[in-house]
């Protein structure tokens, strides 16, 4: 795991001092709110429906026990005893006072954390595969490159006032768990003839105009990555639309310019770069950063664990949790486990101070000090010995953290919606809770299998409804909340935007309509091994649309 050196530490410390000055200039009126806004945004401070919200960066979702404990302390001291993990692998605190924020940032800096560029029209926190470094299907651990991109993009003087926000995601695995095709830039690390390089996708995104990214380049060698990214960023900064914020993302530039012409612009800019302009990342520096991500020292163990099997036989709930929340590890005798933050009837992504402290302790005891945040708003301990799973489970269960639903129908992405957000048109949280209640029976959920339901309270799509296998979008009709259902979206390596099924439903109609979709799937699937999305793709949407409106 990366550790700050004196340069990283100084940069973050100086930023805290700088923002303290900006807050004090705002509080004494020297800075107008309009001028303060982009400054606070570049420090993660939003003005929400009820209060200021602070979004803290968790670069590529990487935490350790000290960081998570500090987040727990901040939740306890400055918020209401909980934090909200987001779809960008960050954490948000919803009730922090503006005057306290410099102190919170100071406190974060002590554990090598910050809120830099978690908002504003700049390069945002880079996201990645939550199983990085543990997954069987990766060509390498993508985190060193995420860290290099984090450093390069931090306070980039040319790209702090882009037309719009800019999100970069990185994966190194065939099974894309980082949703790179719905990011402004998606990077897929490839190995070719022993050399590492990047397949570059550009112009994906969700929001009101969902677009699947265009592949811009098959293979950019690792030593050229940052210069190539700068070429894309410069083309976007100069030519991206600034006349309409809803047309300002790079996806619109790519669409309106045409993929071939956009590629030509990037290639021309890249070719024009002189040696003096190049970043010239020293090989020693690439090696230095990679060295921080050396795999943990995992004792060799047999592939099967007697302790685990005995415990499973004795406890069906544990057995279920193992079936559902465990992901295979590249080393025999180990697993990556998901700690679900989606208990039935809970708030997706929320964790209390006490829960954060429990996870920190368990990561120390059983998890080689490694904790990840997933873009589905759960936590992961990537390196746990199979032998330790029974003890780990017992402690998680005691803290209300042993929900066995990773990737199942109740593991939904749900935006804060009208309950918290001043952009929303409709509530999301109660709709999600109603659906969870409908499928609360764990046998029923497990029988349904892998299925992503994503819910957004408005067209900005923070709940990723476009890429949910079943997407739910809240809309306002003359002051009343309605919900539009879409089918067939996915965020993985077969990324697709869902199709709207038909007329929007009232809130009361939603859970039964979802149940009819899912029961139709159970009737039509070839076997329980065929997941929902494959049955849908095999048969087309018609039977499922008919199911939605069967009550009409």
């Amino acid at each position: 795991m990366y550790r700050y050196d004196e340069f990283d530490a100084a940069i973050v410390r100086e930023r805290v001092d700088q923002f303290r000055g900006q807050v004090s200039r705002r509080l004494d009126g020297t800075l107008l709110e309009d001028e303060f806004k982009p400054l606070r945004l570049q420090n993660g401070v939003y003005l929400q429906l009820h209060a200021y919200m602070l979004r803290v960066a968790i670069p590529y979702g990487q935490l350790d026990p000290a960081k998570l404990r500090r987040l727990a302390d901040i939740a306890e001291r400055y918020d209401r005893g909980y934090g909200h993990f987001t779809t960008r692998q960050n954490i948000q605190f919803n009730w922090v006072g503006l005057k306290d924020i410099p102190d919170v940032l100071q406190s974060l800096s002590e554990v090598e954390m910050h809120a830099i560029q978690t908002s504003g029209n700049c390069i945002r926190n880079v996201t990645s595969d939550h199983f990085a470094g543990a997954a069987q299907d990766e060509v390498m651990d993508p985190r060193p490159w995420c860290e290099i991109i984090r450093q390069w993009s931090t306070f980039h003087p040319e790209f702090a006032f882009l037309p719009r926000k800019f999100k970069i995601a990185v994966t190194a695995a065939e099974d894309d768990r980082a949703a790179i095709r719905v990011h402004d830039i998606g990077l897929h690390i490839r190995r070719r003839d022993g050399q590492i390089g990047f397949e570059v996708h550009v112009g994906g995104g969700q929001g009101r105009t969902p677009v699947i990214a265009t592949k811009l380049n098959d293979f950019v060698p690792e030593t050229e990555l940052l210069d190539y990214l700068e070429a894309i960023m410069r083309v976007y900064n100069r030519f991206g639309r600034r006349d309409n914020k809803y047309k300002a993302r790079i996806k619109i530039l790519v669409t309106e310019t045409g993929a071939d012409e956009f590629r030509r612009l990037v290639d021309t800019e890249y070719a024009a770069k002189t040696d003096a302009e190049k970043i010239a990342l020293p090989q020693a520096e690439i090696d230095r950063i990679h060295a921080y991500f050396a795999p943990p020292d995992l004792t060799r163990k047999p592939a099967r664990s007697q302790i685990l099997e005995t415990a499973q036989a004795a406890n069906p709930a544990f057995q279920r949790w193992i079936r559902v929340n465990l992901h295979p590890h590249k080393q025999a005798g180990y697993a990556s486990i998901t700690i679900s933050l989606k208990p039935i009837g809970g708030l997706a992504g929320d964790a209390t101070t006490a829960q954060m402290r429990v996870v920190a302790k368990l990561a120390e005891e059983y998890g080689h000090d490694d904790i990840r945040v997933t873009h589905a708003q759960n936590l992961v301990l990537p390196h746990v010995a199979l032998d330790d799973l029974p003890a780990l489970y017992a402690d998680l269960d005691g803290a209300g953290l042993a929900t066995a639903n990773e990737g199942l129908v109740t593991d939904m992405i749900v935006c804060p919606g009208l309950d918290y957000c001043n952009l929303a048109n409709a509530r999301s949280i109660p709709v999600g809770q109603d659906i969870q209640q409908t499928f609360a029976d764990p046998d029923y959920q497990e029988d349904i299998g892998r299925l992503h339901i994503n819910i957004s309270g408005c067209i900005n799509a923070c709940g990723h409804h476009h890429v949910g296998h079943i997407g739910i979008l809240g809309v306002d009709r003359k002051g009343e909340e309605f919900y539009q259902i879409s089918l067939g979206g996915r965020a993985d390596h077969h990324a697709a935007i869902g199709d709207i099924a038909g007329r929007a439903l009232s809130r009361e109609e939603v859970p039964d309509a979802i149940k009819r979709i899912i029961d139709t799937y159970r009737d039509l699937r070839t076997s329980a091994a065929e997941p929902f999305i494959e049955t849908l793709n095999r048969l087309g949407h018609t039977p499922f649309k008919e199911a939605i409106y069967a009550a009409d």
Binding site: Q18, H156, E158, F161, R288
Partner: protein
Amino acid sequence: MPLIKNGCVVDNEWTFIDDSTDPDGTGLVTVSLPRYLQDVTRERTRNVTLGVRLTPSDDPDLLLPHLDHLPLIEIEFPKYTDGRGYSLAQILRRRHGYTGELRAVGHVLRDQILYMNRSGFDAFETARADLSQVLEALSEHSAYYQPAADGHPTVFARRHLRPD
């Protein structure tokens, strides 16, 4: 409007003449890029010293033949949120090696000046920041990850320059 250049307050001797006004023949004036390209060849026939004021959508490459004898390029920030001027400055300084004065004009605020300076601006025309604030803004950071027009070595490089 106050002008801060190379860390000092200086008198502004330049006047911007918009395209609808005819320059009257003497002094230091900046004009739009189209007008500059049209007038520059005739410049020496008059007692006018010509500089240019770029808008964010201008193509800085068009100045390439003229950079050696351009004393001043102004880049306009119509709103401080319009960041195109940073790219223009980087291109002029780092790609084309422009060494004359590069001045930020328009909506220039204290908290953008560090990025402007790093991108290559050495002069700031601003009503919204005094000299002490500008100097403070320029000294807020001691280390930078990216190479830029200010020539600071990057953190990536500095890490490997340290004596062992």
